[in-house]
């Protein structure tokens, strides 16, 4: 409770300054509307349902990207990592695509899939896929061979090694990859939605710019920030912490 109040105070101060600046007429409302206007627009957008549609569209794309991207990336990552000759070569190539992933694929995605839903979701998928692939590969390769040999010595099969050693050993790296890729993907998605589609939070704010509706833009910005903070705080970070606590390798000294 106290921590919550302390977290809210800075925002209260920020909003007060914002209100004062607009109230005293330092800036024109077209550039920075007062907080009251933003709240009014937010309730308008929420009550006619369009805000919820945009939120659902954006989150739906994130969800699809995760559902399609993560299993594929983890599977491929483990398969490649198992081959000790292939893995060191594939790693920098995936690293390259990882560096490239995100918004830079948008022109190609539009060429392939046209403007619309598919292109935008592809950007999200792409970002998640390459980062998780990369982190799985690195994670599996970082598992000390001694664990693998221990299982083999005790009569375990290759299957045991994969399921009992390599995948659990790689999990912290995989989960960190998932968390980071959703962060990068979320940003790329917002940018892609501005360009290539007519639903979603990215479209909401870009369309707001076309009509010089700073209040709508600010509603979108705040929703984007809050959604990310909530996802990260309530979902991704606890997941990451728990995986590392449960499966993180304790260094042997």
């Amino acid at each position: 409770m106290k921590a919550g109040a302390r977290g809210a105070l800075p925002f209260a101060v920020l909003i007060a300054v914002w209100w004062l600046v607009t109230r005293l007429g330092f800036v024109q409302p077209i550039f920075l509307p007062p907080p009251g206007d933003v709240i009014r627009v937010a309730t308008e957008l929420a009550s006619d349902g369009s805000l919820w549609i945009d939120i659902a569209a954006s989150l739906g794309r994130v969800f699809l990207g995760i559902v399609a991207g993560v299993p594929l990336a983890v599977g491929l990552g483990v398969l490649v990592a198992l081959n000790r000759r292939l893995a060191p070569v594939v790693e920098p190539i995936v690293g390259f695509f990882n560096a490239l992933s995100g918004i830079a694929w948008l022109p190609l995605a539009i060429t392939w899939f046209g403007l619309g839903w598919t292109s935008v979701t592809f950007i999200m998928f792409n970002t998640i896929f390459f980062l998780v692939f990369f982190n799985t590969l690195v994670g599996v390769r970082a598992v000390p061979r001694i664990f693998e040999q221990a299982v083999l010595t005790m009569g375990g099969s290759r299957r045991d090694v994969i399921w009992e050693v390599l995948i659990p050993g790689a999990l912290p790296s995989v989960v960190t990859g998932i968390r980071m890729s959703i962060g990068f993907g979320w940003r790329a998605l917002i940018a892609a939605e501005m360009i290539a589609t007519s639903t979603g939070l990215g479209f909401l704010i870009y369309n707001g710019a076309n009509f010089l509706q700073s209040d709508t833009i600010l509603v979108g910005i705040i929703v984007i920030g809050v959604l990310w903070l909530l996802t990260d705080r309530l979902l991704l970070r606890p997941l990451e912490r728990r995986t590392i606590e449960r499966w993180g390798l304790v260094s042997i000294t």
């Binding site: 800075p10 920020l14 190539i93 560096a99 490239l100 022109p107 060429t111 940018a191 870009y206 833009i217």
Partner: protein, 255 residues
């Protein structure tokens, strides 16, 4: 022996990659602009270099990101250090900085468009914003992560406030500062590409975006490889060594 094997594997994988790409480009029943062969990308490179477009665009993009990086170093790091000096101040700014860091510069872009129009300034503000917040945030966290024990030890020995900053706070915060710079540049580079697409009149982001309208897919692929390649060069030769060096040299060992 092992080296030769590794080189062989490299050659096979690369040949496989480009071979599969060429084969798909030649055989897939799609219009030619869907997937131009690697040779088309190479000739697009030659053409754009001869016309002088490519060097200009690359230079413009690099200029923007490096300007933002310098600003991050000169303004972001000291600002973060200052905020981190006092626990109260840091506690106050933590949620704010965290929030502004989570809203990427690209989400602010529409507002910047209203403020500055379709101009160079809009791109620069968006990129600087994206880069600055992780830098400030991590510099602040870095200072806060220095165990008070060290500060107290120096103070007991009669060190001045300046000595404490120079010998304890700054070195202690360096690994976190390096991480912040790397993260900020990673986000900033992507924001730059997106901003150039939406606003730009030049730069690599503009190049791949405008090529799309004319179905110049080879040009898109060329731009993509440069965007990825430039980032890798920056990351491998500058950021990662910096991060590793600071952590190896100044990283605080727990306990």
């Amino acid at each position: 022996m092992l080296r030769r094997e590794a080189v062989m594997t490299w050659l096979v994988v690369l040949a496989g990659f480009f071979g599969a790409w060429s084969l798909m480009a030649a055989t897939l029943p799609v219009p030619a602009y869907f997937l131009p062969p690697p040779t088309a990308v190479v000739s697009a490179f030659g053409e754009l270099v001869r016309k002088g477009i490519l060097p200009t665009y690359v230079a413009e993009s690099l200029r923007r990101i490096l300007t933002a990086a310098v600003l991050g170093l000169v303004v972001g790091v000291p600002a973060g250090l200052l905020l981190g000096m006092s626990r109260r101040v840091a506690d106050f700014f933590y949620p704010l900085l965290n929030f502004f860091q989570s809203v990427s510069g690209i989400a602010w872009l529409p507002l910047f468009l209203v403020w500055f129009g379709f101009s160079e300034r809009t791109i620069l503000v968006a990129v600087n914003y994206t880069l600055l917040f992780p830098v400030i945030f991590n510099a602040m966290l870095g200072v806060r992560s220095v165990p008070p024990l060290y500060v107290n030890a120096l103070r007991t020995l009669g060190a001045s406030r300046w000595r404490i900053v120079r010998d304890v706070v700054l070195p202690g915060a360096l690994p976190s500062i390096a991480t912040g710079l790397r993260l900020g540049l990673a986000y900033g580079w992507r924001a730059l590409i997106a901003a150039e697409m939406l606003v730009g009149a030049n730069g690599l982001g503009f190049m791949i975006f405008s090529a799309q309208s004319f179905h110049l897919t080879a040009r898109i692929m060329l731009g993509m490889s440069l965007i990825g390649g430039l980032w890798l060069v920056l990351d491998y030769f500058l950021l990662r060594p910096l991060e590793e060096a600071t952590i190896a040299r100044w990283g605080l060992i727990q306990r």
